[in-house]
């Protein structure tokens, strides 16, 4: 038994949650002692090579690749955690949920005031993932075991949660770490 494996993904997120993870400063060294990263933008491993104990998911699902990726994580991780508001409830990207898709594309690629697009079309092609009808919170697509709220959750929250989970100790989150107003 080596170190527990951790995988991370940024779906429809801004990478802010990953930044927050890196924000644990020198504890990053401890983290590397504690765990081994598998599929993650942190080490740029693109495919799961082993089953992981924990998957950290940033962002909701805006397109087919996000959804597919998330399902892949579910299959390959024992525990999945929604990290940040986008993963938990869609967040800022979900602002498009009230607007029909065609209208969104129209505005974003053709009509916006700063747009220069001589093709007159929204980008399209097999290498561009298709958008889903709306941005889904992760829990609407797969079972999520835990949710860490925040935009992003503070580094310390992420650290405490990971340590508690991997050392099988009760999670102690002081009020300041889960207070958001």
């Amino acid at each position: 038994m080596g170190k527990p494996k951790v995988a991370t993904a940024s779906l429809a997120g801004c990478f802010g949650c990953h930044m927050s993870l890196l924000d644990i400063d020198d504890k990053i060294l401890k983290l590397v002692e504690l765990v081994e990263f598998n599929k993650s933008p942190v080490d740029d491993i693109k495919k799961f090579t082993e089953r992981c104990a924990v998957g950290l998911i940033e962002g909701g699902c805006a397109n087919e690749e996000n959804a597919h990726n998330l399902q892949d994580f579910r299959r390959n991780c024992d525990i999945l955690i929604s990290v940040g508001d986008c993963a938990i409830m869609g967040g800022i990207p979900a602002m498009r949920n009230g607007i029909p898709l065609q209208e969104c594309l129209q505005k974003a690629y053709l009509e916006g005031p700063t747009i220069y697009n001589p093709t007159g079309k929204a980008p399209n092609g097999p290498d561009i993932p298709l958008l889903l009808d709306k941005v889904y919170p992760c829990s609407e697509i797969v079972k999520m075991d835990y949710h860490l709220p925040g935009c992003p959750p503070p580094a310390e929250t992420l650290w405490q949660a990971l340590v508690a989970l991997l050392t099988d100790k009760p999670l102690d989150l002081p009020y300041e770490l889960i207070k958001y107003d």
Partner: protein, 619 residues
């Protein structure tokens, strides 16, 4: 309609003036404008705002809040079909389709000639004569789809919904001022509410004792509120009396919005004098000079009749300045107890939450029907800041009998913790739906037997906010300590799909939530979504526990009684009909959420991109 801007300006100025350009009368003003012009347009909102000197947003927020008010132009005849659960089960969709076909519009639309608007509405308090609809203020009951054509042609020819009343209903429904086809269907009268009574006698009796004695009497009778919560009435009066201020108010809650409740309608039709007398006695006891009857918009057809009763009482010295029933009744009255008290009727405009007492007060003050944060409680600071007591129609009727017959007589009736009788309104799958006044302590089975209900699978006690009771609990008693109800009892036979009932009730609460607090505004939607997931066979075992914990959160964290009870359809059906849920859910080991449908999620995209997904094989 050809209203020139100048006409509009003048008409609105007149309407506002008739209400004293008083901001607190905004409800009456916008209701009048709506009635006159078929809408409260942006322009009308501006005009009203300047007439009563408020910002336009205050007027607009009232217009947008109430179902019977609208910024968009409505037809001359607004047809509102009750599509609440009892009417649904009695075939309201066929009624809606018949009207849609007849008028050539969809429900929610107005005909091109501006004559007819077709809408749905929750319970209008006619469940014992369902399917029922409203046409403007007129009520049409016991409808069948084949009557739609006739109704439309009568309206087209005569222009008068009254012409639809071929034969008026029983009792005072036949009074010329009511002249409605509504039936009372009072199948059982009791000793307290539907009993003999002489107008003015109890008031005279009350005035011969001190206000404190009156309150002591009401306390000794152990009278508890009939509106649902069952708060001891005497105590509420005491609090209001003790509160600081020389002016106070008493409000009679005739909003009767809880689906399946129609007993206050029967009481107001048959015993209005008793209710007004109860209000007057309450006014005397707590030291109030202001009385308001808050009448739900659906009961507007009773308004003229009730106004006339009030006028009669004023004539007879039972209301107004120096109230002294002695004139008519020849009794001796010490002048020290003569007091001033009058009652006005405040019409509602289609909002369930306005039955909640603080929302009701907001509405009486001419605002959106938003509940208020407590404390301060109404007894301390209510209507326009006055200490205010809100009581249900039936509670006030009971007061009259307590004064007349004595506290001991009253307390000798009913069960241990619940004295007196309860007026019940029973609807659904039974032979004799209608109004029954029964002593507290009557069991559910006894009620079912009386009403001729057979093959009953479940009884919804107390409306959607109450309890869904299963057959093994039919021995339970109707009283505050066991099965409490504000009066609503809906009977569902074995043929009914109970989860559909629960689903509808959630829809009702979502629609009626005022939206102020998140647990209620969002929580109820999440509850309904999860429930529908289960109903559609996409639910997991974990969804049942999700419903339970979310339901408890909504109950715990909501700000007013609506949100504190809105999860009850789910929570009580989970408690009493758990297998209905368990039979539908799956256990899952894959961790994939079965309600996520990738084909559906990609459908729009594939159409726009004119290609199929390369990641998934979609349908």
């Amino acid at each position: 309609m050809t209203t020139t801007p100048k006409d509009l300006k003048k008409e609105i100025a007149d309407i506002c003036k008739a209400c004293g350009n008083d901001r607190s009368r905004l409800m009456d003003i916008v209701r009048d404008v709506q009635e006159k012009f078929g809408c409260v347009s942006d322009e009308a909102i501006n005009l009203i705002a300047s007439e009563v000197s408020v910002h336009r947003v205050e007027v607009e927020s009232v217009v947008s809040f109430y179902a019977f008010l609208s910024k968009d132009q409505k037809g001359n005849f607004v047809i509102r079909v009750c599509d609440d659960i009892i009417d649904r089960q009695a075939g309201s969709d066929s009624i809606i389709s018949a009207f849609e076909k007849e008028l050539g519009i969809n429900c929610g639309e107005t005909t091109a000639d501006g004559k007819f608007t077709l809408e749905k509405t929750p319970c209008i308090g006619m469940c014992d004569q369902a399917p029922a609809i409203m046409i403007n203020d007129e009520i049409v009951t016991n409808l069948t789809a084949d009557k739609a054509g006739q109704i439309i042609s009568t309206l087209k020819e005569s222009g008068d919904p009254k012409k639809l009343v071929a034969e008026p209903g029983d009792g005072n429904n036949g009074n010329p001022l009511v002249n409605s086809m509504v039936m009372n269907n009072i199948h059982q009268k009791g000793e307290i509410v539907f009993s003999e009574y002489v107008s003015g006698a109890a008031l005279k009796e009350a005035l011969s004792s001190s206000p404190k004695e009156v309150i002591r009497n009401v306390k000794a009778a152990s009278l508890r509120g009939r509106g649902g919560a069952g708060f001891p009435t005497g105590m509420k009066w005491d609090f209001t009396r003790a509160a600081e201020g020389d002016k106070k108010a008493i409000i009679c809650n005739a909003d009767e919005g809880e689906p399946g409740t129609f007993k206050d309608r029967a009481i107001l039709t048959e015993c209005p004098d008793m209710v007004f007398e109860g209000m007057t006695i309450a006014g005397y006891a707590i030291g109030a000079d202001t009385g308001i009857l808050y009448l739900r918009g659906e009961y507007a057809y009773l308004r003229k009749f009730l106004e006339e009763k009030l006028a009669k009482r004023r004539e007879n010295g039972l209301l107004g300045k120096n109230i002294s029933p002695k004139k008519r009744l020849g009794g001796l009255l010490k002048s020290k107890s003569a007091f001033d008290f009058d009652i006005r009727i405040q019409m509602g405009a289609g909002a369930y939450v306005c039955g909640e007492e603080t929302a009701l007060i907001s509405s009486c003050e001419g605002s959106r029907g938003d509940p208020k944060t407590r404390p301060p409680f109404p007894a301390q600071k209510g209507y326009l800041g006055l200490p205010t007591c809100v009581n249900n129609v039936e509670t006030l009727a009971c007061v009259v009998k307590i004064i007349e017959k004595g506290a001991a007589w009253f307390a000798a009736r009913g069960s241990a913790g619940s004295k007196g009788t309860k007026v019940l309104s029973i609807s659904g799958d039974c032979e004799k739906p209608g109004v029954y006044e029964l002593p507290f302590g009557t069991t559910v089975s006894e009620v079912l037997e009386k009403t001729g209900a057979k093959d009953t699978a479940a009884v919804q006690m107390g409306g959607p906010s109450g309890t869904l009771v299963a057959a093994n609990d039919f021995g339970r008693k109707i009283c505050y300590d066991d099965l409490a109800t504000g009066g609503s009892i809906m009977v569902f036979s074995r043929d009914r799909n109970l989860l559909e009932v629960v689903d509808y009730f959630m829809e009702f609460f979502i629609e009626e939530s005022c939206g102020y607090c998140t647990p209620c505004r969002v929580g109820n939607v999440l509850l309904k979504d999860t429930l529908e997931k289960i109903i559609n066979g996409k639910g997991l075992t974990t969804d049942i526990s999700n419903l339970e914990s979310l339901g408890k959160t909504v109950k715990l964290a909501s700000r007013c009684g609506l949100g504190q009870t809105s999860a009850n359809p789910i929570l009580t059906s989970l408690q009493n009909f758990r297998t209905l849920y368990e039979n539908l859910v799956k256990t899952d080991e894959t961790g994939m959420n079965p309600s996520f449908d990738i084909s559906k999620a990609l459908k729009d995209s594939e159409k726009i991109a004119e290609r199929k997904s390369v990641v998934y094989t979609t349908e």
